[in-house]
């Protein structure tokens, strides 16, 4: 056994190959350059190659793969959004997620738990009833349930919430799931790479060249690359990339923080969310509680995390689950969320031919990873916005056609 292990360690041909290979140097030109090697950018690369046969594609990532918001969210997947535009879009994402492990040939630990959004007031129940009816109209499994149903699914919950804001019902969404976020990025990267996409980590895009009003290339930390099409999928760096092409930003950058507890025996099967208390929590396969809250109070371009966040989150968590008082928080972190005024994304073609934007993903981006990849790949391949993303154009702000997506995470009602 020891000799086998030693031989394996010294052998250069390991049985398990690397997830993807990076060429020594980028080529001089690509058909499509994708800025940002997170889930969205990698999914777009994969669907470009898989669905549209466009394989001369490069993904440039300034840090490491999936190291931005793809690796910083709370991994919840659901589709019970409020607006018809949002519900249809996220429903397609859930469909793609459900078969994604098979498609990417990788265990993504996709775990369907059921998702309860708690109501602590009559007005919240009213919005939830509205959400449930919109959802049902589009064939999404979504219904209003009473407090006894919440107690049955999660016996540990204190429905009185310490007597301050008792739970009076919940929006139940049976397909609500959690999924291993890193694996989603790695899976897309591996399949895209197998199809010919080239992925470069530690390579920053520093400028976008425009000639005659069209995109003609990008400047990177590893030299100039000619391309006619650039996709920006950079979340918190969106304003910086927009500045490169001379566009003003409709998104503001606000930190969104999260944390995990020490591992415990499994006790929490469903995903529990309270918009009024600003908490969402699920238990991972490892037993840790993954918890998130609302965005920070002001714009900030930083992934620092704060004591204020973790104390207020713990306070709200203890209202729901008083028995957690002795449990320790072991890690906390933040991501830079690119928030839009109406809590819906900004996607598709822009005023500059050849420049495509996948942004405005605020606190709702991870669950949209597959559908963003699919629709952005279509949009780039045909130079026409996919029908599912038509409502998400940047001009809606000037035209005052906002979407008002109040079903987004951490949005109070």
């Amino acid at each position: 056994m020891a000799i086998r292990l030693l031989k394996y360690a010294l052998d250069r041909n390991h049985a398990e190959p690397r997830y993807f290979n990076t060429p020594a140097e980028p080529r001089d030109s690509y058909d499509v350059v994708i800025i940002g090697g997170g889930g969205h950018g990698l999914a777009c690369a994969y669907y470009l190659a898989q669905n549209h046969g466009i394989r001369r594609v490069a993904v440039f990532e300034k840090g490491y793969l999936g190291g931005g918001n793809t690796g910083r969210n709370t991994t919840i997947v659901r589709s019970n959004y409020l607006t018809p535009e949002g519900a249809k879009f996220y429903q397609r994402s859930v469909e793609l997620f459900e078969s994604l492990g098979e498609e990417l040939d990788l265990n993504l630990f996709y775990s369907t738990r059921g998702h309860y959004t708690l109501a602590h007031s009559e007005s919240t129940l009213r919005t939830m009833r509205w959400r449930a009816e919109v959802n049902k109209h589009f064939g999404i499994d979504s219904e209003l349930v009473g407090p006894e149903e919440v107690k049955r699914a999660c016996p540990q919950i204190d429905l009185s919430c310490g007597g301050q804001h008792p739970v009076c019902g919940a929006l139940f969404h049976a397909p609500g799931s959690i999924v291993r976020h890193d694996a989603v990025a790695w899976g897309y990267a591996r399949r895209a790479s197998q199809l010919g996409v080239e992925i470069f980590q530690q390579t920053a895009v520093t400028g976008i060249e425009i000639e005659g009003g069209r995109v003609v290339g990008v400047q990177t930390s590893r030299g100039r690359i000619a391309t006619g099409k650039v996709v920006s999928a950079v979340a918190g760096a969106t304003p910086t990339v927009l500045k490169m092409v001379g566009l003003e930003s409709p998104v503001d950058i606000v930190p969104l923080q999260a944390c995990v507890s020490e591992p415990m025996k499994p006790w929490l099967d469903p995903i529990i969310v309270s918009g009024s208390l600003h908490v969402y929590v699920s238990q991972t396969a490892r037993g840790e509680l993954v918890m998130g809250a609302s965005v920070d109070p002001a714009e900030l371009h930083s992934t620092r995390s704060s004591l204020d966040f973790v104390t207020s989150l713990a306070d709200q968590m203890l209202d729901l689950f008083p028995f957690l008082a002795g449990v320790k928080i072991v890690r906390q972190w933040a991501g830079m969320a690119d928030m839009t005024p109406d809590f819906a994304p900004v996607m598709g073609k822009t005023g500059i031919p050849g420049f495509y934007l996948d942004a405005g993903w605020g606190t709702w981006g991870f669950k949209a990873t597959p559908v963003c990849g699919e629709t952005m790949a279509f949009t780039v391949a045909h130079d026409t916005n996919h029908r599912l993303i038509e409502p998400f154009g940047m001009t809606r702000f000037e035209e005052l056609r906002m979407l008002g997506e109040k079903g987004a995470a951490s949005v109070g009602h």
């Binding site: 500045k243 930003s249 409709p250 714009e299 930083s302 204020d308 000037e398």
Partner: protein, 88 residues
């Protein structure tokens, strides 16, 4: 806990304040098209920004100069200088 060192009301917890966003010029608000652009578009890169902040307990409005890369507050001034007499 994060605190703001205010020259008018002293050192107060940041949680007592609400950020009401960046400052928009009055002239921009008079033309509807310019107003829409000013409301929804801008330079959102990290920089020193002038913002409106409300101190909730005292209902006083302040103008902050804040670095959105570091969260450092560079200056705080009262929006209505006549309020200074009321505080004193």
């Amino acid at each position: 806990m994060k605190q703001f060192d205010c020259p008018h009301i002293g050192r107060r917890p940041a949680s007592e304040f609400v950020c009401a966003g960046g400052m928009i010029g009055v002239m921009q608000m008079q033309d509807p098209a310019a107003a829409r652009r000013a409301l929804y578009f801008g330079d959102a890169t990290a920089r020193v920004k002038r913002e409106w902040w409300l101190h909730r307990p005292s209902r006083l409005w302040f103008r902050f100069e804040r670095d959105t890369a570091t969260d450092q507050v560079l200056s705080i001034e009262l929006a209505h200088p006549e309020d200074a007499d009321a505080i004193a």
